[in-house]
């Protein structure tokens, strides 16, 4: 057998060398063009010249709200470069993966976004990734400024672990004003589930799906479920069902699940392909009447210029309750830039920053002394409710139950969407509770 490879006999070595060289040069040129950019960001400066903030706020309204916080920080801390380490995709799952690997490797950012309650405790406090900030609260006199319900949620095992920035309401039904008036449907804060189903029948007869659902986002369906559960249990027992004092096999839970199934009688046919904001688009366009979503939807509508086409009301049967979805920032243990990190939290807790942040995101400021004069109509309604309603934690957003329980519920919901089997779902809830002990 000849030792000449067929390859080199067909192309002279010079030809090969020339092509390879061309490719290499091309690669270097292309790399060189983008090099300056790479180098400019590649090496983070040492010392306190930077602040790295981690979140998954990447939708239009969220990103704008985050920008406001950055602006407020820069106003009082000029010369500090803010690194926006936001990670998109997977409805936060990419971000969770990135954050958790960082934390397990002891390389935290200077702060990250978190919800209070169970998620804060299980993911960050128990493994020791955060530092208690009771001192900061005393120093900034925050104890008198945040409502008691909020303080309770951010206190884990007796210590304060989060600075809340904005409060979202989770039990809101947004609707297309035209569609409702055209079909003679009226809603009010004390309307019930039966009222809703009656309206749904009317809409269905008129050929319009009553509910726009984006079930590609599992949390949207979980929200729908917990709001329906809230309607069935009332705020006190709703809080108890997470601690186990009220069992998941309760009859009222069965009723809630049956109602959940009933929504699907009049729902948009493409819900499996839509995310929550795709479903919102359908309401803006009048292709569906209602959508159940937290009030960041209002931020989304504002960013798209559609806020005038929608109205809002609390979820049927949940008048008097406020499902609180609170966004806050943590103080990491071993923050790379501790001084900046502390100043960041001070900014987050400040009146000015919170007032600027809230409208973009569709939230109300967590501080009860925030300047309400700039509130838009939605925020006024939400703030009023927050002031008098019973505040309850949310499952869909990590406050009510641990990540384990939440994951089990997520999986059970994915199956439920397809088979609408009440019994299986209820059993899955019972099992999840037992499992999470």
């Amino acid at each position: 057998m000849s030792s000449r490879s067929p390859f080199t006999s067909r192309y002279s070595r010079r030809q090969i060398a020339k092509t390879a060289a061309a490719a290499a040069v091309g690669g270097v040129v292309l790399g060189g063009v983008s090099f300056p950019h790479a180098f400019a960001q590649a090496t983070p400066a040492a010392g306190e010249a930077e602040l790295e903030i981690f979140s998954w706020w990447t939708t239009a309204g969220e990103a704008a709200g985050l920008e406001e916080l950055f602006k407020a920080f820069t106003a009082s801390n000029p010369g500090v470069k803010i690194v926006n380490a936001a990670v998109a995709g997977g409805a936060g799952s990419n971000a969770q993966a990135a954050l958790q690997t960082r934390l397990s490797a002891n390389q935290p950012p200077d702060s990250w976004q978190s919800h209070p309650g169970a998620e804060l405790k299980a993911r960050y406090v128990d493994p020791g990734y955060t530092v208690a900030i009771d001192d900061l609260y005393t120093e900034q006199d925050w104890d008198s400024v945040f409502p008691e319900g909020v303080i309770n949620l951010i206190t884990i095992d007796g210590q304060k672990q989060l600075v809340p920035v904005g409060v979202h309401r989770g039990n809101v039904m947004f609707y297309n004003k035209d569609l409702l008036s055209k079909n003679g449907i009226e809603v009010s804060d004390d309307w019930t589930m039966d009222d809703y189903f009656k309206a749904a029948d009317t809409l269905k007869a008129a050929g319009v799906p009553a509910l726009a659902l984006g079930s590609k986002d599992t949390f949207a369906v979980v929200q729908l479920f917990e709001n329906t559960l809230l309607a069935a249990l009332g705020p006190d027992d709703f809080t108890k069902v997470w601690t186990g004092e009220v069992g998941w096999d309760d009859d009222r839970v069965t009723t809630a699940i049956e109602n959940l199934a009933k929504y699907f009688d009049s729902v948009n046919s493409d819900h499996a392909a839509l995310t929550w904001d795709g479903a919102a688009d359908e309401v803006y366009a009048g292709k569906a009447a209602f959508t159940s979503m937290g009030d960041w939807l209002y931020g989304d509508a504002t960013a798209k210029g559609k806020q005038d086409s929608i109205g809002w009301v609390n979820h049927p049967g949940t008048g008097g309750s406020f499902v609180a979805v609170i966004d806050g920032f943590t103080m990491p243990k071993g923050a790379p830039h501790p001084v900046n990190a502390k100043n960041w939290l001070i900014t987050c807790g400040s009146k000015e920053a919170q007032t600027a942040f809230a409208p973009h995101k569709g939230a109300i400021p967590a501080r009860s002394d925030a300047d309400a004069s700039g509130f838009n109509d939605y925020m006024k309604w939400s703030a009023a409710a927050f002031g008098k309603d019973a505040v309850v934690p949310s499952l869909a957003h990590g406050s009510a139950a641990s990540p384990q329980f939440q994951s089990s519920v997520n999986d059970a919901i994915v199956s439920f969407i397809v088979d609408l089997d009440v019994e299986t779902f209820q059993q899955a809830l019972v099992d999840a509770q037992a499992d999470a002990q």
Binding site: S93, P127, A273, P403, Q404, Q406, S407, D411, V414, I417
Partner: protein, 337 residues
């Protein structure tokens, strides 16, 4: 080319050569760093993962104590409907993906084996998808299979739906990606809670994967076809064999080693698949496109059930090993001749 390329070493060093290290130790010594690195990065980490799968670690707080009874987590894993669905999806995906890629790859290679103009250009067209990242293509394919646009819209533009309307049938609406339907239902013992059939939503994913990787199979087959000497083809022609028979009875059997290589390489890629499904459809309606790769990702970082995630990855590894180890053993034996 080899003759004359070797410079006489005598002028450079004196002989007999005095070496720092006896020559027969040189080889293992040079290989050592790579081997050690791999032992840490592969076997060490797999060992750690295996330990985690047997541990109590199911919250973000690390807990490496062993769970009692030891098989508890694995038992839970296999009785979880979702994981059963994942295994079903993985097997269905692998089978159809391999058939598709090998089949299409072989056909394209044979087509390109004929004398056609611009062969190089056409070959590049088929090879291009292989150069792309799954993340990139997942987004494009998600659009293509979107039920309200994508293929449906294309049918509209091409007038196909208009034609169908004339015939009285409904328009073509491809809503596979959001459909939770499972075709078929093979009866299984009660312990199997998943419906055993072909999930419709998996079909677009299979199509996307075949599109992307069949070019690789084609390239392998093209290389193989090139080594089949012309004498064989001419002898077959002389014997009066038609082109079809020549391919079927002579050439394709000669390509068997390539087929096996392609099956091994593509097979293990498909059992590990994550990026494409993640970017294209996520877990899908009713877990129709959920695969073990996504399950591991979600259990580890979403639910923080580290032991469950680790157990699932060990199962993934075992599935792959079942395919790979016989191949490795066989090639090992072949060498020892």
């Amino acid at each position: 080319m080899a003759q004359g390329a070797l410079e006489r070493p005598a002028a450079r060093t004196a002989s007999p050569r005095r070496r720092l290290v006896p020559e027969r130790l040189l080889s293992p010594l040079i290989l050592a760093p790579s081997v050690i690195a791999l032992f840490v990065f592969v076997y060490g980490f797999i060992g750690l993962t295996f330990w985690v799968s047997l541990s109590n670690w199911k919250t973000p707080k690390r807990d490496l104590s062993l769970i009692q009874p030891l098989w508890e987590t694995y038992h839970r894993l296999f009785t979880t409907t979702r994981f059963q669905i994942d295994i079903r999806n993985s097997i269905i995906f692998t089978i159809f993906f391999l058939i598709g890629s090998v089949g299409v790859g072989l056909l394209l290679a044979i087509a390109l084996d004929q004398a056609i103009p611009a062969r190089g250009l056409i070959r590049n067209v088929f090879l291009f998808p292989y150069a792309l990242s799954f993340v990139v293509t997942g987004v494009a394919w998600r659009w293509i299979f979107n039920p309200d646009s994508g293929i449906t819209l294309l049918m509209d533009h091409l007038g196909v739906n208009w034609l169908l309307a004339r015939f009285g049938t409904g328009p073509i609406r491809v809503d596979w990606l959001i459909s939770p339907r499972v075709l078929g239902d093979i009866p299984m013992p009660d312990a199997v809670k998943a419906q055993i059939g072909i999930p419709v939503a998996l079909i677009p994913v299979i199509i996307a994967a075949v599109w992307q990787l069949s070019g690789f199979a084609m390239a392998m087959y093209l290389a193989g076809l090139g080594t089949i000497s012309n004498d064989i083809r001419e002898a077959a022609a002389l014997d009066g064999a038609s082109l079809y028979r020549t391919y079927r009875d002579i050439i394709i059997p000669l390509l068997k080693p390539i087929t096996i290589s392609v099956l091994i390489i593509l097979g293990h890629i498909s059992l590990k698949i994550f990026d494409l499904v993640f970017a294209m459809s996520g877990k899908g309606p009713g877990f129709a496109t959920d695969v073990p790769g996504i399950f591991v990702f979600e259990q580890t970082f979403g639910a923080n059930k580290y032991n469950l995630g680790a157990a699932a990855s060990i199962v993934m590894l075992a599935l792959i090993a079942v395919v790979i180890v016989p191949y490795l053993a066989r090639s090992l034996r072949e060498v020892e001749r």
